[in-house]
């Protein structure tokens, strides 16, 4: 599979600290690529440089054949973005909101169809502020899809969501992948990365300390002789919770 994103020697320095320290990696077409790491590891900074929101101090990023620094508009036209803090305009209905964002890409969009993809058709006339956390993230993803991007960046999309909403979002992300799009996602949840991601990069203190498929990373760890007391659990507490409360969305 060809590389759709190529990051080389990327560095971001602020006055007194280095947020991203000389990292290089590739994202393959149509994979779900996870960036993991503790808070302050540089995940969001890396993502925002790839999105053209922050200027790299040094290094290059090529997205879908275009250099982010030299052709930011070409890149922006080809990517979809969901930021960590997703607030939108007040006083506009979801349909109007999606159409307005479509206009920013100089496109007429079928807002209802996008809302259907993220299961928000019944909220078409509501305003963003009336939505629950999970609904707002789905709206945010719908807006990220208005330009039919080939790559979508999701920054901690499941943080703060209940288990049902989280699983629902996983399904949505799988559907996006099934349409041939590439997904770059950051998360704090290892179970999420394990279920969703084809490959993950683990970041710490501005560096990528490991990059591979979740399975390979686990094998690598086990090969070092790592072991933990094995307790054969037939189910986890989350399984209990979801069995009792069901998988259906609550918002």
């Amino acid at each position: 599979m060809k590389n759709i994103i190529e990051v080389k020697n990327l560095t971001k320095k602020y006055a007194d600290f280095t947020a991203v320290n000389n990292i290089s990696f590739e994202v393959k077409e149509n994979e779900i690529f996870g960036i993991l790491g503790p808070n302050g590891a540089g995940k969001t900074t890396t993502l925002e440089m790839m999105e053209g929101l922050k200027r790299p101090t040094s290094g290059t990023i090529v997205v879908d054949g275009f250099d982010v620094v030299h052709d930011p508009d070409e890149v922006k036209a080809r990517i979809g973005v969901q930021l960590q803090a997703s607030t939108f305009f007040e006083s506009l209905s979801l349909v109007e909101l999606i159409e307005t964002f479509g206009a920013m890409y100089n496109r007429k969009v079928d807002a209802m169809q996008l809302l259907e993809e993220v299961q928000l058709t019944d909220k078409a006339k509501s305003q963003a502020k009336e939505l629950s956390g999970g609904q707002r993230q789905r709206l945010s993803i719908a807006i990220g899809l208005v330009n039919d991007p080939s790559i979508i960046f999701l920054d901690e999309p499941t943080t703060g969501l209940d288990p049902q909403a989280r699983r629902n979002l996983w399904d949505l992300i799988e559907q996006i992948k099934a349409k041939g799009k590439t997904v770059v996602i950051t998360t704090h949840y290892m179970d999420e990365a394990e279920v969703l991601c084809d490959r993950v990069a683990i970041m710490d203190a501005g560096k990528i300390i490991s990059l591979n498929s979740p399975r390979k990373l686990i094998e690598e760890l086990l090969a070092t002789g790592f072991s933990k007391p094995v307790v054969q659990q037939q189910a986890s507490l989350e399984d209990v919770f979801l069995t009792m409360t069901g998988h259906a969305l609550r918002d």
């Binding site: 930021l83 939108f88 506009l92 159409e99 307005t100 206009a103």
Partner: protein, 353 residues
Amino acid sequence: MYTTYKLTIAAIKMLVRNRQALFFTLIMPLFIMLIFGYIGFDKPQLIDVGLATSTPSAQTQAFIGQITQFPNFNIHQGSLESEQEQLNEGNRAVVLEAQGNTIIAYTNASKPEAQAVVSILNQFITSATLQQAHIAPLITVQTQEVNAHNLRYIEFLLPGLIALSIMQMSVFSVAFVFTQYKEKGVLKRLLATPMLPIQFVAANAITRLIVSVVQAMIFIVAGLVLFKVHVVGSYPLLLLCVVLGALMFLGLGFSISGVAKTTDSVPVFANLVVFPMMFLGGTFFAISSMPSWLQLIAKFLPLTYFSTAVREVMTKGSGLSVIWPDLLGMLVWCVILIGLATYTFRFQEREGA
């Protein structure tokens, strides 16, 4: 073009659906107009004259009959005691009591109009006496009335209110909304699209220019209908004034959202600039009535140029040849404030290093 057009439509929807903004831009100034318009500062003040029931002679009776016709007197009749009490309380300038051929005038020493009443009475008596003696007055005064168009207070106020409310709308709606967008990360999200920031700013500016014109129209219509105000000047020129005025205050609004870090600090910055102008900008009273040192400041304020230009056009029908200094003043302020806005306002916080 499509992008800016659609963004403008969206911005109009947002502004119109924001009830709070609508209240401050339209309802509030209209309220001020109604209150000040109906108080009627320009009706001549009537002088309160008390007539005590008394024992007049035929002559004093006829004389008192004449006094009651005098248009500038507000006549009150009552017993001597009650009228004197009113006099003591300051509710009468003069109380008159006729005793035979004598008229006793009790005057309120602290009211200057009391002396005027007494001299008017003396004049009446003198001319009546002269007439009876068939003596022609040595000098006669001929009055000739000129039909000057006196500016009523509402006519003075209306152009000022138009300028004031456009200032309020432009400054506050931009400063609040854009600081909020900045604070909540909306602008950052917009930067992730290929849209140019200028397109978004333009859409919002166009929206507010349209609202300014609508504001001016509503005020003029209200003035025409409710107060029968005369608008003598040219409407296209008025439109030019409104657009220039709104532009400079939009620049101010964007400058404030450039400086303000959070929406909480917006009213602080905005009122610091806007509040003094409400009183010094020639809205409620003329700059010329201020002490000269204050005039020196007041006449260079953006709102002063704006309200003066609108007033000149609306009440005197002045053309470009008269108001060009005001238009120039507004233009200079446009350059300053829009320049300040482009310097301070960013879609994204500047990155350190």
